[in-house]
Amino acid sequence: MSYLHLAIISPLLFSVFIPIFYKKFIRIHTGWFVLPLPILLFIYFLSTIPKITNRQTVTETFNWIPSLGVNFTAKVDGLGLLFALLITGIGALVVFYSIYYLAKEKERLNTFYVYLLLFMGAMLGVVLSDNLIVMYAFWELTSFSSFLLIGYWHEREKSRYGAQKSMLITVFGGLAMLGGIILLYIMTGTFSITEIVAQSGDIFHHSLFLPALICVLLGAFTKSAQFPFYIWLPDAMEAPTPVSAYLHSATMVKAGIYLVARLTPVFGASSVWFWLVAGVGIITLIWGSVFAIRQTDLKGILAFSTVSQLGLIMSLLGVGSAALHYEALSENIFTVAITAAIFHLINHATFKGSLFMAAGIVDHETGTRDIRKLGGLMPFMPITFTISIIGAFSMAGLPPFNGFLSKEMFFTAMVRVTQMDIFNLETLGILFPVIAWVASVFTFIYSMILVFKTFTGKYQPEKLDKKPHEAPLGMLIPPVILISLVVIFGFFPNLLSESLISPAMAAILPSLLNAGGEFVVHISFWHGFTIELFMTLGVILLGITLYKTLPKWKRMYDLVPEKLSLFRFYDRLLEWSQSGSYKVTNKYMTGSIHSYLVYILAFFIFSLTVTLFWKDAFKLDTGNVSSIGIYEWVLAIFVVVGSISILFIKSRMTSIILLGAVGYTVSLFYVLFRAPDLALTQLVIETISVALFLVCFYHLPKLQRYETRMRFKLTNALISVGVGAVVTAIALSAHGNKLFEAISKYYVENTYEKAAGQNMVNVILVDFRGFDTLFEITVLAIASLGIYGMIKLRLNRRKES
């Protein structure tokens, strides 16, 4: 266990102490105890930058299940480090913000911070694990902690709905991804990402390559809210705003982006990968930006804008994967897409994080997030206004902020798609820049709505619950830090290019560096009068025109039929699957033990008979059998007569005792066969079970049925005869087939040698097959608690009523 492992799981370990802090120091906001951890982690990861910049990676292995190839291998490379810094850096700011956002008197802070730390640890695990199974485990943990955080105000119906929705969709994707991981394992024989990447050339023509690719992408698309799975993200906005800023814009939703980037070396050369990642990305981009304009909730706009921006990064990664087809690095003009993706990833975290925090401030200080009620807030909250306007301008791609730079690079990448001569891009490639440009116009419009509908226009105090005023200083510091980063990265983008972007690119496109050399990233403002510049100018001009005429064309959205929306489709699907499974379950779960026994025994007969004939296993071997003595005859007759007479007995008590007698006779067989242990066990078991039957039957009402003779029932007769026949056939075949030497020899030889015992049965129970015994007694214990619970609960309920 190295420091790196400790760093990854430290949030999980630390979360154990949160309830103690919460209980012991009730006067101090629990957030103050949490805050140092992400800061320390951030500094720790910062300290690895020099190493990463020198193209080294930090790898530490902790053996977990070596026999299955599942080891906790933590690896810090350019991509992992970038994400780790985002997670801890934004994490620290969000914790700080939440201290002022969540009042310690009203909220259950202990659970909040436990969930938040759970998420932080899980997310670090996702981005720093080199083993796919370990990554998957952390991946699901992020889904769970996201579920808990969205449902944090669980008394609200909408929170529960949103939490469930995100859980269902992301876990569905997660399971698909697990399938993809297993397929990768089948192809390569390893779970290690590093080793899979090394083998990527060999698996390209494997028949499982495509299924694995699609499964993995399902995981990435659901997590990163890509079309058509994005529908969970707008509902996830029910979470407290710090959570939305952290999970649902800066970190968790980027896990899908991370996965796509991480596996680009494996799958990137495929045309399906290119079309799926770039295509879905660009559809998500335009879909999200178009529908963001329709929203009236500030966080709703931000949610759709996040969907759209994630689509943008996704499409860049897809386009960037085409770079793998162009060998020479110096002339490779398509790597710019990857550069843009990483740069925009950072930029998005900064401006979207600050916008979310600003939206939280507006909500906190006015009591509403509805833009129809808001307006004219600029004089009341000037600092929040400044934060919002810089964030929104950066999002819209206006100079001099960082969003402008990455948007320009995005245009460059999209324009260059038209120059590609692979995957039919000569003809279809033109769609990319066109869609990108239209989506940018819409992005511009909703960015303007976000700021100007909230802060300018008519002030409507009558619609607000509180009198608005500027937020406390603590709530302003985190967004101000983020927004200053927006400005700093805008003016000095090359602060990032060598330290973070270039190493991250090396992790995404390692094959291009095989011949040596490295990615030279240089970002500058002015490229001359290029097509990108004119595209941006066009976006601004058309955007302003459309924003001004918004009321005239906004009615267009009413034409979109509500019934056909994906949201409605999800609700229908959920309802339908619930009612459908109810119907199916009610068909066979009748509540009668008789029918359950029929299912079980019929299946027993069916499966065993089929196996017996399929494997041609039935064999009657009369050789090597001992003669049947007088005692065996007597006992056998006793068992047969006893069993048959039970059917004709009228009194319950008599039939129980008769059943016991049959059992005792069977145990006498064991005595004859010289198996004292079995005989003893059977005797005691019979005694106890007869007592148990008596106790149970004592409670049953006197049934009329037992007064008359039982009627003949065909099903029962078939089942009982069938079970008897199958068991007999198997017993005979077991004697007839001697395929290998009996295992008893091993026990005869080793019981005294290895376990120093003389009673083989007991030694098997406690030593050789000790695991079986351990689980059996556990099952027994659970069963007894189950019976206790069922009966006692019923008793209590009856007492209450």
Partner: protein, 141 residues
Amino acid sequence: MKKTNNIILESAITLLLFFIVLFSVYIFTAGHYYPGGGFIGGLMTAGAIVLLLITYDIKTVQQILPVNYRIITAIGLLFAIGTSAGALFFDVPFLTHVFTHVDLPVLGDISLHTATLFDLGVYFVVVGVTMTIILTIGEDE
């Protein structure tokens, strides 16, 4: 169960009970070398208590043996798990048993097994489970 007045059973049980319990303990300890073990021993002890239940009613038995059998089950499981997991502290796989021979002055050569501790867990679980089930169903009115 109903209170019955059963003179023969009531007088016999005072003597029988101890023999049955004693025999069940013997069966348990003999387990490693002769027929027996925790499972049979436990069932036999439970059988003795059931006999007591048949003779007297549940309330009387609860007074004679004021034991919560669910806790007995838990103790048994702890024994079994503890013995199994104890092996991990000596850097050997889970459930590795050890044994040794001790020469005691009166009893002579005695072999000691960790397997017996494990079996003791089985014994407790079996007693606890059987009695929990029978008492729960029996108490239900």
